[in-house]
Symmetry: C2
């Protein structure tokens, strides 16, 4: 699949990274000679962070190329995303040239303000043009507002939404076109109010930022406005909350009716305060800090299958079937070392070696049918003991594989030897004894016949493998 | 220390929980007979989540009592927090009664709208009255807006800020009083715009919530408006961003100038959409989901020492000195089992046993001086191998201790036996061999003399302890 990215700034670069890391080829068109440098900077960030959200290996990265003309970029493309400056005349000129070469290809615009019907004016094929408005950093945040107009081809729009989901995004279908769509209307409201607070000397940029990120910002990363207020209403419910809050609306709190005079004094005031607040970090540092924080938040939500985390889990599920099912003779798991797995020595923290081992033995258990449904039925394998031998060091971003050798197995016992490898070289081995238990009784018991019917042939096949030298080793034993 | 909590709703309950869990005694006054039930519900949530943010043991919980009169509640209190309904006449009556009994005690109001000078009108001691506006859930979100008026006692205000910091909060000193302080002005702006979008049929409550939590909400949990836009400006900086964004301000995007008619139709529309969106979860479920998400976000920021995480680390540091320094003969660490540590069996996931063991061996290393400064100097102890024996199960919220017995030690080797216990009963033991390394050379080397001078006496003292039965055990060994 090929995507054409028209306009190679921060937003275009983020789109390019999303497509490339999901296996699409990408052709960028941007006459700015600095475009490749800018795109590569975004791509560097994306490669550090986006794969950390995925528990199913991403496909091999697509090919990135730079087209010298618009026509070259869009020819043969399956999807076109336009992220040029917010000038309607410019966008119209670009669309005319694009649709001269590729009239039927879905053509999404990253515009934050224009309505799709404005974008479609005078177009060769208005039906193929729509808004696909993403949020920075495009390679991490799932939201993309998809806005059709009455002239849009709704079959094409549904296909586009599927394409965006295949990139791990959350297409929010905006049913009625409106200036600035939905999210940016909130951002505009907050922005106006913030300008007044700074201009009137009520608060500095730093104080405003703290007022956001120490309080409601944390709430809004996981529930929106209404779900949050629903809770605040308590047992009495949403109606009670509304009836309490309603009257405040007529209070003259905000100065939203007026637009502050956006002159040089105000620009200098804000830029100076922002320098004082954040100037000790470079923009590159701030990007990396932001991305690390976002990856952390998104992993939390993924573990809890909530909000943006549900989008990530759905993205994994979508790709799980396309990845070759593991068998007990090859690597059972693939993991990438995440920022939160690093210790003060700069290496993967030791408990994550056991985590990698657990993921591997869990994969073996799923393979023999001792999966979540089996656990829900009241039986499981519990780890009784583990011996870990450290042989090398894993660092941030390393790709690790986990494979397993069944040393012994009977009705109740499963004795395995796990190798965690980086580029084929073991960094740790784990020897584990697992016991099959009746969870309610809290006692060992024989595994179900269909589990054993899958497990014992693996044991028999592995019986011919050489026994690992460190199997049966105790801590402090001299090497033999 | 004693806090008086006047008004026992969700906000008053959150304040009570903050104080109680930080070791203060709390007297609540609320004539509502349902107040104890409501406060206990908040306290139950807080006890599940707030301790999970702390890596230094919280003090023993204070005593909670219900006063039958305002005077009884505030007598002997070191701090008074008022969270009654948003009616100025009611607040004035309450303050008069409070200050008749306790005129000089700091008296904070949870008001989201009134200015401190309005609260102080006609008071016995206006100087002691100020705004301390928190955010729900009060026991988790750090932000509290502290707003004095020109009549305030600024020494008292500074003391109050220290008190709030000792509760793990982030007092944002609002320098100029203004209706709705700072954060709620943004919430009002967003709320108004959201009402229009719902009323005009542009978006449902669910679509609005997704537009927030899939995009800018995630950003705002870790950086505010200005720092986020600073990054968007890229290398060209904040001024460039402002100059680009500025002109959009005059576009007529939002409908903020008008207040929507807040009638029964709009209430029903919103309440109905909210039911469709979230009605399948009880309010209690939503609270627990929200708190689990927030604990996850806050732990991410804490690990990264950023934003709200810096507040949590500072709170730990503040208390670390008050907690008895561990010695090698008692438990070296105290841990509480967090939601993210639970596996699909409902138990603490196995890699967290090694995590608890690592925390314990790290504590021993700090005790002998092999701390972060030592690592920064290029030397460290690396774990070479570990044997883990599982003896019991740890579940969500369990308090675990980790203690260590030094089995052997010499210049390069440190052989330890760690016991992870719940209520004094071992749930796992870990035998570990640690090697002292020159990190640059990647080789073992003798530890520094001052490290050995602290380590070897511990080894000698532990030599008289009985050797644990499972020391030297290998995986699958029969019990002897």
């Amino acid at each position: 699949m090929k995507a054409a990215i028209i306009g190679g700034g921060v937003i275009g670069g983020g789109w390019a990274a999303r497509f490339l890391l999901n296996g699409w080829d990408v052709a960028v068109f941007d006459p700015d000679p600095a475009a490749p440098r800018k795109i590569n900077a975004v791509l560097d960030n994306a490669r550090l962070s986006l794969p950390a959200l995925s528990d199913v290996p991403l496909p091999a990265m697509g090919q990135l190329s730079y087209a010298t003309t618009l026509t070259e970029a869009v020819t043969g493309a399956d999807y076109i995303q336009e992220s040029v400056s917010e000038r309607l005349d410019l966008k119209h000129r670009v669309y005319a040239e694009i649709q001269h070469a590729a009239p039927d290809t879905p053509l999404g615009s990253s515009t934050s303000g224009y309505k799709p019907s404005q974008l479609q004016e005078g177009a060769i094929n208005p039906a193929a043009i729509f808004v696909a408005h993403p949020f920075n950093p495009v390679y991490l945040l799932p939201l993309v507002e998809v806005v059709p107009s009455p002239a849009s081809d709704m079959t094409l729009i549904e296909t586009v939404k599927d394409t965006l989901r295949s990139l791990g995004m959350f297409p929010l279908h905006v049913r009625k076109e409106i200036d600035a769509h939905i999210a940016d209307r909130f951002l505009e409201a907050v922005w106006r109010e913030a300008l007044w607070l700074v201009k009137d000397g009520i608060a500095t940029t730093e104080e405003i930022d703290e007022a956001i990120r120490m309080g409601f910002g944390l709430r809004w990363g996981q529930m929106g406005l209404f779900e949050t207020y629903r809770i605040a209403g308590g047992e009495a419910g949403m109606k009670h909350f509304l009836e309490q809050f309603g009257p405040c609306l007529t209070w003259p709190w905000t100065r939203l009716m007026d637009v502050p005079d956006f002159n040089e004094d105000l620009v200098d005031l804000i830029a100076g305060q922002s320098d004082a607040q954040s100037g000790h970090h470079s923009i590159r540092d701030l990007e990396r800090i932001r991305d690390g924080n976002l990856v952390g938040f998104l992993r939390v939500l993924k573990d809890r299958d909530w909000g943006a985390g549900q989008v990530l889990n759905a993205h994994d599920a979508l790709r799980r079937d396309t990845v070759k099912a593991p068998d007990a003779d090859g690597p059972l798991v693939n993991l990438q070392v995440l920022p939160s797995w690093i210790d003060y020595n700069g290496h993967m923290t030791e408990s994550r070696y056991l985590f990698a081992g657990s993921e591997t033995s869990d994969a073996l258990l799923r393979l023999i049918g001792a999966d979540m449904d089996y656990v829900a039925g009241g039986h499981s394998y519990y780890t009784a003991e583990t011996h870990i031998l450290h042989l090398g060091e894993a660092k941030l971003g390393d790709h690790l594989t986990g494979s397993v050798q069944v040393l012994e197995a009977d009705e109740k016992r499963l004795h395995v030897f796990i190798t965690i490898a980086k580029d084929g070289t073991p960094v740790a081995t784990l020897e584990q004894m697992l016991l099959h238990v009746d969870m309610a009784a809290g006692k060992t018991c024989p595994a179900a016949p269909d589990i054993l019917a899958r497990l014992l042939p693996i044991r028999d096949a592995h019986a011919s493998l050489p026994r690992p030298a460190s199997a049966g080793r105790h801590v402090g034993q001299r090497k033999t």
